[in-house]
Amino acid sequence: MKGKQILSAIAAVLALLLAAAMPALAEEKNDIVIGGSMPLTGPFAFAGIQFNRGLRDYMEWLNEQGGIEGRKVRYVAEDTGYEPDQSVAVFRRITSRENVSFYFGDSTAFHQTINRELDRRDIMMTGASFASELNDTERYPLQFMHGPDYSEQVAILLRHIAEEDPGARVAFIYSDTEFGRDPISAGRETAEELGLEVAARIVTPPGAADISSAALELRRARPDYAIFHGYILAPIPDFIRRARQMGMETRFMGTYYSMDQSIIDEMGEAADGFMGVMPYRYFYEEDAGESELMRAIHERNDEYQTIYYIQAWVAGSMMAQIARETLARGEPLKGSRMRASMEGLDEVDTGGVIGVPVRFRGNSLPVGRIYRADVEAGRMVPVSDWIDLD
């Protein structure tokens, strides 16, 4: 009899626990899940940690605003170490246990590798890569970029040069990696179309420690502008210092991933005058208050936030807009349906972080602004209007 009582008590407790858990389970089932393969360790961790914080904070803020059409948003991510095979493993793990609608990827290699799987599972993806190859709606129908692809970034720089200094001589300095080579041939064509002369193409081997001979090559070419691509920091400072030592007056420019505030902090004096393309407003920008998203970012953070953190907010905001549009059409949050809603958007909601109305061209948003490093002020300052390639 005693045994029976104990069993009954256990059953009652279990029933209570189950009853308590049911609403939570039902609630979780209704959640919109955003998965992520995040490079929280490894060579890309400096950005990955910020992407992760940015997406987590954005989802938290979005839920405080009532979520998407009343549905909560849940962000689930794991570390990849910036290894494509690990990114794939994380993708499989998360998508097998969650009903994922959106995914955030960490590298071009992962975006390429996982493409078929995305099609199969009908999941929409964005991420850290701005590779030009991904800007192909036929081959990558379920992927989108929340900024200009690398070729478009170079095109924005070239357009600025052509306006400021028609007929200028331009050199491309890039790393011998898939990332580095990405925009070079398109960049040459764009330069020619804009009446600019390509004075040199200088390639540095991956991880090159010494760029002495490449700097001599640059001096021989004597370009008015040199555009770096495929680097984060090194060897940009070394090139600039050597060019100054050789008495060159070349103006140096970079693409998105070499444009964080850290370039000023790490390069010091040598950074002065360094320019580059940036699709988003910086944290400290004076007109940041015009942007709803920037205001929300400022409410949550007193200290400077990197461009990667802001990029993650933009990515989150675009996912939310695509989901809202799809739900408004009465469609399920499946990749192919969301693609159709995305294409129907007249204007993409970047929460004002991109300072002009934008819309997709293919899989990208071909808009950016030129900023210049002002070392005395200790910040990046805009030197052009927003340039829209569309």
């Binding site: 540095t204 420690a209 002495s212 001599l216 920091l233 090194a234 390069m267």
Partner: protein
């Protein structure tokens, strides 16, 4: 042909090669004394650079204080690795020891990422900034002073190796461990000394390299080219390391400018393949070098 330009490119290459040579000496020193192929040499170099970064930028110490402290730190790291990881592996299959050094490399990279994150950093400047001209040929000051410092350190090392008691003990242990034991040389202490000195040299290379291109965990990749240098020069030949370092530095520089940067590593690895086919023990190495 623009000969002045060719000379400038060659000088730049020899400057870069001096860093290969310096790091290769650290590699050869360990191999000669302990017969360990230390694949973590690039990571030891990276740790040295980060120590200088921490002392010079983090603690804001003057460079003349931060550099010796970073060198001592590099030396201590070398001795610690030898005593804690390599010595217990004595007598094991060389492949096992080789694999352990690969693991050590990963641990060092992971530790650096934990402490300083993987974000690239710049080192505090400590070299003169004025352009250097030899005749009409320009040499970047970093390259020039890097070469001068590397040359002085190598010369000092050779003198120590030749005349200092510890250097004699090192050479004796390298040529015959049994005989060295029999003559009363403390072989385990020699092991520690070799790893300590190699750690210091690697830290010095790391600081010079970091002064040129900044520091990041990726700078450990430098060790890969150093491996090519020592295989080409001969794993147990100091002279081979010096010559192969300068040769590969010069070759990469000339190839990079005249053929394009994408061919630099290709040509280096073709040279490696040719040497392995024709003289697998390297240009100046001993015939009895063990094949792995």
């Amino acid at each position: 042909m623009d000969w002045l330009f060719f000379i400038e490119v060659s000088l730049a290459g020899i400057g870069a090669g001096s860093l290969y040579a310096l790091t290769a000496i650290a590699f050869v020193l360990i191999y000669k004394a302990t017969r360990v192929i230390n694949l973590a040499i690039g990571e030891m170099l990276m740790v040295g650079a980060y120590l200088f970064f921490a002392l010079g930028a983090g603690w804001s110490l003057s460079w003349w204080l931060a550099i010796p402290m970073a060198l001592v730190g590099g030396g201590l790291l070398g001795m610690l690795l030898e005593r804690g990881v390599i010595r217990p592996m004595l007598g094991e299959n060389p492949i096992s020891v080789f694999m352990v050094t690969i693991g050590l490399g990963s641990i060092l990279v992971g530790t650096v990422e934990l402490i300083w994150t993987s974000a690239p950093r710049s080192l505090p400047g400590f070299m003169p900034d004025e352009a250097i001209f030899i005749g009409e040929a320009f040499i970047a000051p970093n390259t020039f002073w890097g070469f001068v410092i590397a040359a002085v350190v190598i010369a000092l090392f050779l003198l120590l190796f030749r005349f200092w008691r510890g250097g004699v003990a090192l050479r004796a242990t390298a040529s015959d461990q049994g005989a060295a034991w029999a003559m009363g040389i403390n072989v385990p202490a020699v092991y520690s000394l070799a790893w300590g000195l190699a750690g210091m040299i690697a830290a010095g290379s790391g600081i010079l390299l970091g002064a040129m291109s900044g520091v990041s965990p990726e700078m450990a990749m430098f060790g890969l080219t150093v491996l090519v240098v020592v295989i080409v020069g001969g794993l147990d030949s100091v002279f081979g390391a010096l010559l192969a370092g300068l040769l590969i530095g010069w070759m990469e520089s000339v190839v990079g400018v005249y053929l394009g940067g994408e061919y630099e590593h290709l040509v280096t690895f073709i040279l490696l393949m040719l040497v392995l086919l024709v003289r697998p023990w390297g240009l100046f190495g001993s015939h009895e070098i063990e094949r792995l």
